[in-house]
């Protein structure tokens, strides 16, 4: 809502407050003023000029040489507007003038001809193009004939005004009108509201003699008021009206349409004007649309109507989409002589659904949707009649044609002062409460320590006691509320085990050198299941903004890899990112199965101490080490199982299993996938944290620090390449028995000195007895047994 401060002063005295200060007061009381716009900002030295002569520039087709009387002198000004003509009163920016955006007008020569200033369009005065009347949208603005040459345009044409831009919340529909804002400002400044005085002379003839009104859908339209005004002259509105509309963000059209819009802005009550003759039938019937009915609305679109759309008809065909937009077939034009002014109360839900269905929002529908004041329907119609009589020379027929089944009782809210104070934690005096309610013009009776408050119909947001609490508090001042803390017993607070584990993972991974990333949950259909551990059916949005963000992800990796590519494309060659977040799987439930996952993606160098020449590229085993460390941190035993997945290197992929359940995957990206993403060797992991955290954590029990030394023996084996070290390790462990404490690979060799298809793996075995110091003989006995077993299984000892 845009509020002209000058216009506002028609209804309430703003005490001459500077607009910014007025705006601040309004904001602090509850309606946020988003901007304070000085309409004349940056404008100076702009006067009314009279174009005495105008001829084509000899050197340029599109330019005209004008002799313009600006009061003291007649100046030559070159003008490029197509609609410039001799005999016009125009807006002249004289040399030295300033225009918005810091533009300064200077004497100049245009194609050899002197130009002493500029003839201006409204856009050049800082008015938005979409608000400039259509006739002047492509050229200069032409002032009325009675404009006085040489006078200041800014003051004479109401540009010396400030507009407050209100950011209205949906509850404050009452402030979608100048009068509504006036009531609010009056309450804040403790002033009176002056309503417009409505007086005009009625014709002898009754409106009902020319027009009949039927309402077939009284639930959707409980009140319909029509007035008939004849012998009008459709023309441009006076400057003050045009400027007020433009200040309010409405484009002027002609005096009839402008009057309906003016009253809409003034009262918040949407009006519509029909050309009486184009109605043809002298009848208005409000009903629901029929199947296959259509209407061409004023914006030129033909709309197919549905049964629950409320339409205004002439008894036969639709002439307006009720409360949303008029029809082209009954539009007021230059030729119109008689108009029907409609002022109605439409049910907000009906308008809301129609407006939504047709994707059509207008100043009218946005007010109906939120509910208009039932007590302003008739006054608004009268006000429009008065203005049409004044501005269009119209003759208002006697009375109105009315259908009225609307209940307009005031809501009564009963609340006790104690309730108000206990909710606020304050001690506001009873008299102060009464004073505030009085300022709001809420009729209040006090009885038995209860306030019985009649809420005016303009404030439909006030329904319950808590609403009164807010009204009192906001006008008393929120600064007056003390600061306390809840008095209830203190509670321990804290994180759940799951949440704590999530932090453990975070700290571990960051300690390991990974950066935490966050990516979008919405992705394309194509990548939604890519690299997913447990792909399910897709979950698509009903109305996505783009295909890129149309489907919920089932794997974190595609977006995380996009982030890696983003970085490598910007010359960060080594990237190690992790992300924790939900993947969205279809399940049995109505809700999706949201499972929290961890994903890691790494490329480039893992170690890089350049001057010491220590470099280590990331590989499968770096990732495996990270996962193993994580499992150790959480006290779970993960198993690695060779596997294959689309997008991963078939020889370098392993699934992670926990208690037999597959909960994750690690692997190197498939060369093709890497190429598509413009990546070098990249290793990835995805793991279900939900599954990982589901395992209860065992209590940590201390084992005594060994009192006896352990003994280490090595064994180097030559194996077939297809034999996995893990298999051999299991064999060693089972053969080693109780005394074998630890086995680890300490060397791998696959080179020239070996037979083709063979590799050499060396293990280091640690023997230990917690009870005593092992003797060489004891160890040798066990170790021999291990070696024996290995040899029997086909391993060759390497000499």
């Amino acid at each position: 809502m845009l509020v002209s401060v000058k216009w506002l002063n028609d209804y309430v005295n703003t005490q001459g407050l500077p607009p910014a200060e007025l705006g601040e007061k309004i904001t602090r009381a509850g309606i946020e003023v988003d901007a304070v716009i000085d309409r004349s900002e940056g404008l100076s030295n702009i006067v009314v000029g009279y174009v005495e002569a105008c001829e084509k520039h000899p050197e340029a087709d599109k330019l005209s040489i004008c002799q313009v009387n600006v009061g003291e002198t007649v100046d030559q000004i070159i003008c490029g507007a197509p609609n410039i003509a001799a005999g016009q009163k125009v807006i002249v920016a004289r040399p030295g003038a300033r225009l918005p955006g810091g533009m300064k007008i200077k004497k100049a020569k245009l194609r050899g001809e002197e130009s002493n200033g500029m003839i201006c369009s409204l856009q050049e005065l800082g008015i938005e193009g979409k608000l400039v009347p259509k006739a002047y949208a492509e050229g200069i603005y032409v002032l009325p004939e009675n404009a006085e040459v040489g006078t200041d345009v800014i003051t004479n044409f109401h540009l010396d005004d400030t507009v407050l831009e209100l950011g209205l919340t949906p509850n404050r529909a009452d402030a979608m009108s100048m009068l509504g804002v006036a009531y609010e400002v009056a309450a804040i400044l403790e002033e009176e509201v002056k309503l417009p005085e409505i007086t005009y002379t009625e014709a002898e003839e009754e409106a009902s003699s020319m027009l009949t009104v039927n309402v077939d859908s009284p639930e959707a339209n409980p009140l319909y008021v029509a007035k008939v005004v004849r012998n009008i002259e459709v023309k441009e509105s006076p400057m003050w009206l045009q400027q007020r509309l433009m200040a309010a963000g409405v484009r002027p059209h002609n005096n009839v349409v402008d009057v309906t819009n003016y009253v809409l802005m003034e009262y918040g009550q949407p009006l519509h004007a029909f050309d009486y003759d184009l109605l043809e039938t002298g009848n208005i019937t409000v009903r629901n649309a029929k199947t296959d009915e259509t209407i061409t609305t004023l914006d030129g679109n033909e709309r197919k109507l549905s049964l629950h759309n409320l339409v205004i008809t002439n008894g036969e065909k639709p002439v307006a989409l009720a409360g949303v937009m008029g029809g082209a077939n009954s539009e007021v034009s230059k030729n119109t002589t008689t108009v029907v002014i409609e002022s109605a109360y439409f049910n907000s839900a009906s308008i809301r659904s129609t407006s939504k269905e047709h994707g059509l929002r207008s100043d009218a529908s946005s007010r109906y949707e939120k509910g208009v004041d039932p007590n302003r329907v008739i006054p608004a119609a009268e006000r429009a009649a008065q203005l049409l009589a004044e501005l269009a020379g119209g003759e208002v027929l006697k009375g109105s044609v009315i259908f009225d089944e609307l209940k307009r009782e005031e809501k009564v809210v009963t609340v006790s002062p104690d309730f108000i104070n206990s909710r606020l934690g304050m001690k506001i005096r009873f008299e102060d409460m009464l004073d505030i309610l009085n300022r709001l013009q809420f009729k209040t009776e006090a009885m038995n320590n209860q306030l019985m408050i009649s809420v005016p119909t303009r404030r439909q947001d006030i329904q319950i006691e808590e609403d009164i609490v807010e009204e009192i508090a906001r006008l008393y001042g929120y600064d007056e509320i003390p600061s306390t803390l809840p008095e209830a017993a203190t509670t321990p607070g804290g994180l759940s085990p799951y949440q704590l584990k999530r932090r453990v993972v975070r700290h571990y991974l960051e300690g390991a050198g990974l950066l935490q990333a966050t990516t979008y949950s919405l992705t394309s259909e194509k990548s939604a299941t890519h690299l997913a551990l447990k792909p399910t059916d897709l979950t698509r949005l009903l109305m996505p903004m783009s295909e890129e963000r149309s489907t919920l992800r089932q794997s974190l990796l595609p977006h995380l890899l996009e982030s890696v590519s983003y970085n490598t494309a910007r010359r960060t060659d080594s990237v190690a990112l992790y992300e924790t977040g939900s993947v969205f799987l279809k399940g049995q439930d109505e809700l999706l199965n949201e499972e929290e996952h961890l994903a890691i993606a790494m490329t480039g160098l893992w170690l890089d101490n350049s001057w010491q020449d220590e470099k280590k590229a990331v590989d499968f085993f770096v990732m495996k080490g990270i996962v193993e460390g994580l499992a150790a941190k959480l006290g779970v035993e993960l198993e690695f199982e060779r596997g294959e997945m689309d997008g991963l290197h078939p020889g370098r992929t392993a699934f992670l299993t926990l208690e037999g359940r597959r909960i994750g995957v690690i692997g190197q990206l498939h060369p093709t996938e890497q190429k598509n993403r413009d990546l070098k060797t990249t290793i990835v992991l995805e793991l279900s944290l939900a599954e990982l955290f589901a395992e209860p954590t065992e209590e940590l029990v201390y084992t005594q620090v060994p009192r006896y030394p352990s003994i280490t023996r090595d064994v180097a084996l030559v194996l077939s390449k297809i034999v996995e070290a893990g298999t051999v390790e299991k064999l060693i462990r089972s053969a080693g028995g109780k005394l074998l404490k630890d086995v680890r690979v300490f060397d791998l060799y696959e080179g020239d000195n070996l037979e083709a298809g063979k590799k050499s793996v060396a293990f280091s075995l640690t023997y230990f007895d917690p009870e005593k110091t092992l003797t060489d003989e004891e160890v040798t006995a066990v170790h021999e047994n291990v070696v024996q077993t290995l040899v029997e299984s086909g391993a060759e000892l390497r000499s």
Binding site: R503, L515, L607
Partner: protein
């Protein structure tokens, strides 16, 4: 023999003095005092002496031997020290060369902000509750006093999956779920999480962002308690000298509803580009839980009251660190992320 002995001694002492390193000196030791050295030889040759001369001669040899040994040890000490010094000299490094970097990562700036807020409220006795990001219309809207067709639903453009299922537009459904689960009992929770709105991504809008909300329900919870709680939060988060102010606002699930501004932490209230010259910065929305919301979750709104507040970690991070574009949070540029390594404690 005595003359021979003295000559030997003089020779040995000269050689000891002339030795320039440990190795040379050790050679002298072997040459004179070793098993095959001349002094040993002399001792061996004593058998040929008359018996009465032997003790005297023996004593004389021992004196020489002791003196040579002593001088040798002295010299050895000097040479060893000299050797150590030389070694140390040769081992000197350029301590200005860079150290071996300890590779560490760090949390995403949003995690950093969320955890800071979580920890603050945990210290005040709050628990952390989370909920699904794909939510039922009921919990996202209806249970929060936003029935179907309510005009305030326009405030939040929603990604629907079906008529009844949507991407949550705020974390408030977690509050609704918690209230339903608690069955009328007091509550003190904070709810962080991802939320989604049908917005085009640009420097200040993101279709996905994070929220963190708080909810307290109990007997006699007053608006002053809300103000006090938010004041503690503002001071902890933005500095001890922060002041707060409440402005009336509207949210369907609270009544009264407020927006909280803090005094600008950059200019202290004088007006600057961060606070758009107002001296105040809008931080969060809050209010007293609407009685309809309490009743829908099975609470007796006459007996228990509550307050709720909600804020956007993106906005807080942007204000706090001066981040100019919300899309940075989701692009994961390493040059952006790694700036949030340093602690501020």
């Amino acid at each position: 023999m005595e003359i021979q002995l003295n000559e030997l001694k003089t020779q040995a002492l000269e050689k000891i003095a002339a030795a320039t390193d440990v190795k040379e000196l050790n050679a002298v030791r072997v040459a004179y005092l070793g098993k095959k050295g001349p002094i040993t030889d002399l001792l061996k040759g004593m058998g040929k002496l008359p018996a009465e001369d032997r003790p005297k001669m023996g004593a004389l040899v021992n004196v020489v031997r002791e003196e040579v040994t002593e001088r040798l040890e002295e010299r050895m000490e000097i040479l060893e020290e000299q050797a150590i010094n030389e070694k140390l000299q040769s081992e000197t490094i350029d301590i200005t060369l860079p150290g071996r970097p300890v590779r560490t990562g760090n949390a995403h700036p949003l995690t950093r902000v969320v955890e800071e807020i979580e920890d603050l409220f945990i210290s005040m006795g709050y628990e952390v509750e989370e909920g699904p990001e794909v939510e039922k219309d009921y919990y996202n809207f209806e249970a929060l006093n936003l029935p179907k067709g309510h005009p305030a639903r326009d405030m939040q453009d929603t990604f629907y999956i079906s008529e009844e299922l949507l991407l949550r537009t705020h974390t408030s459904p977690v509050q609704a779920r918690t209230m339903e689960a608690k069955g009328g009992e007091p509550i003190k929770i904070i709810c962080p999480g991802k939320v989604y709105r049908r917005d085009s991504d640009d420097a200040t809008h993101s279709h996905q962002f994070t929220q963190i909300e708080g909810l307290v329900i109990g007997e006699d919870i007053r608006m002053s308690d809300l103000k006090g709680t938010l004041s503690v939060f503002a001071k902890k988060m933005f500095g001890d000298d922060r002041e707060i102010r409440l402005r009336p606002s509207f949210f369907p699930f609270t009544e009264p509803s407020v927006e909280m501004d803090i005094s600008c932490f950059k200019c202290g209230g004088e007006g600057c580009n961060v606070c758009k010259k107002t001296g105040w910065i809008e931080i969060l929305g809050a209010g007293m839980v609407h009685p309809n919301v309490l009743e829908m979750a099975g609470y007796d709104s006459k007996r228990l009251t509550g307050f709720a507040f909600g804020m956007g970690p993106e906005r807080i991070a942007m204000l706090k660190y001066g981040i100019e574009d919300i899309r940075h949070f989701y692009t994961n540029d390493v040059r952006f992320l790694s700036q949030f390594e340093r602690t501020e404690v």
